[in-house]
Amino acid sequence: MTSRLAFVARRVLLTIPVLFVMSIVVFLIIRLVPGDPVRTMLGFRATDANVAEVRHQLGLDQDILTQYLNWAGALFRGDLGSDIVSHAPLSELLAQRLPVTFELTGLAIVLAVAIGVPLGIRAATGGRWVKRLTEGFVVFGISIPDFWLGIMLVLLFTGTLAILPPSGYVPFADDPVNNLRYMILPVLTLAVGEAAYILRTTRSALTGVLDRPFITFLRAKGLSTRRIVSGHALRNAAPAIVTVIGIQIGVLLGGAIIIETLFALPGVGRLVVTAITQRNYPAVQAGVLAIAVTFIVVSLITDILVGALDPRVSDGKST
């Protein structure tokens, strides 16, 4: 038990340098803009006084180390600065938009796992036709760009069948039923590709496990095939599957940037895209930061889960 705790502690400590590198990347976003970022931001009509004021406001008139320390210090207090366009505090903006992104990606990963894992098990243990069909689904899911799939789904469900709204959003708290109606297509769009990856991983991890000698011993002990697969093979394949799910959540967060724009969902991804076109650098920083931190936390949880699933990992032995 103590070794488990030590493992978790070690893994948590390891995220500190990652967070540090990430913070530098985000910090540099505005400072690496070629030319004068403030002028680029404010446009040609801005007066010199205006530019100087915003520069001071963003702390860009200090030396770089002071800038970073001030920025990081403010970050710790939850102060992300304010939006150049709307002047609203970015922390409030994120608080509104993160739930949308979390709902979208959370539902998508749940759906992807619900499709991918059972199909992966069937693919690893089934007959020739099951294998062919699942392989077809994998190729389909991996080769179709998710946003085009989304467009085709809109064409089908709002054009031809006319049963779902093409785009839009209402908060879950205001109108749960319509919130979910708006979420169906974007979630489905994101989930199909992810399900294909999860299916493929489940299949190959499980196939690998089923070839191992301990499976033969389990059969020699008189266990049923169902028990062997559900009690042992899946348990052994789980770390690989969980690892890939963690990585795919990163991909999903990236995909959400496009899908939110496609379906007009007011999430963080759409915030970033809009901010980039408006050269609203503080908002870009805040959005990138939010997605990156989410990804890092997900990776942390994934690794801890893998450690819990595989006693050798938490004992510090390589598998």
Partner: protein, 304 residues
């Protein structure tokens, strides 16, 4: 204790009659059967050794008893376990036999255990697969078995993952899991090959002791003459899928009948130290290609 002192029980625990196994290959090139016409009966309570070089069909023969051969294998002949036919049985019937009436252990114990499961549960699971008993009872029985096979502080080690145990201890766990339901027959396929020599001796002693206490019949497969010499009552020699000769261990080492056996012993004097591997016999020895007389001549040559 020698088997001769025992009271004969009518039905043999295990009886092979003209058993052959052929593997289908994906290209049409014909290969001979992996097991070729084996006829053999094991007496109750004996340790019967099968010796033969690698690839001689020992594992295939053992797996045929358990119904563990891959789908590409075709088994002909008859295999009777306690008088009941095994060949052609469906999986449900085989499953109720495996781990209960007949158990099997394999070469590499480290690879035989699920790395993610506590070792104790892997013993308890065998019991629960065949007996309607509750979790707590199974756990108590598994702990007792761990103690019996010589795991110190069994209750404390019950929850350990396999990688926390030594190689010898893992093999003991595997033996405990195999013996959990008091099987009448234990098939041990190279059970000590992956272990170092001192641990090998301990594991063999354990198998011998358990056989004595529980009256289990043991089919012990090895390519190591030293292992065979240490514990077996009777020995069968396999070569190229054929069971060449069966004799008591003493007879075999003192007066081998078949020329191949003689060649084998010539290369590995009786009482060879444990750990001695059988030499791979050159292709020229293929028994199909040689007449009895030629084999004899070669065996004599080898003796010099």
């Amino acid at each position: 204790m020698s088997p001769d002192d025992r009271i004969e029980v009518p039905a043999d625990v295990l009886q092979f009659t003209d058993v052959s196994v052929t593997f289908a290959t994906d290209d049409a090139s014909p290969v001979g059967p992996a097991v070729d016409g084996v006829t053999l009966a094991l007496r109750r309570g004996e340790i019967f050794g099968i010796v033969g070089e690698s690839g001689s069909g020992k594992s295939t023969l053992a797996n045929a008893v358990m119904g563990l051969l891959p789908g590409t294998a075709t088994v002909t002949g008859s295999i009777l376990v306690n008088g009941r036919e095994v060949v052609g049985q469906d999986d449900a019937q085989l499953r109720s036999m495996r781990g209960d009436e007949v158990s099997m252990i394999f070469q590499d114990a480290s690879a035989s255990l699920d790395p993610t499961w506590p070792v104790g549960d892997q013993i308890a699971e065998t019991i629960r697969a065949h007996r309607l008993i509750d979790r707590r009872e199974a756990k108590a029985r598994a702990t007792a078995l761990m103690t019996e096979v010589g795991i110190p502080d069994a209750a404390d080690r019950y929850g350990d993952a396999p990688h926390r145990l030594s190689g010898g201890q893992r093999q003991r766990i595997v033996i405990a899991a195999a013996l959990a339901n008091d099987p009448q027959l234990l098939i041990a396929d190279e059970p000590t090959t992956a272990l170092d020599v001192t641990i090998q001796a301990q594991v063999l002693e354990l198998i011998d002791r358990l056989r004595t206490v529980h009256g289990t019949t043991v089919l012990l497969i090895s390519h190591d003459l030293g292992v065979i010499a240490q514990v077996c009552d009777r020995v069968g020699v396999m070569y190229g899928g054929v069971l060449l000769e069966v004799a008591t261990a003493r007879e075999l080492f003192r007066a081998p009948k078949h020329p191949y056996t003689r060649a084998l012993l010539a290369a590995n004097p009786a009482g060879a130290p444990r750990g001695t591997r059988l030499p791979v016999i050159p292709a020229a020895w293929s028994i199909e290609s040689l007449s009895e007389a030629e084999l004899l001549a070669q065996a004599k040559e080898a003796e010099r």
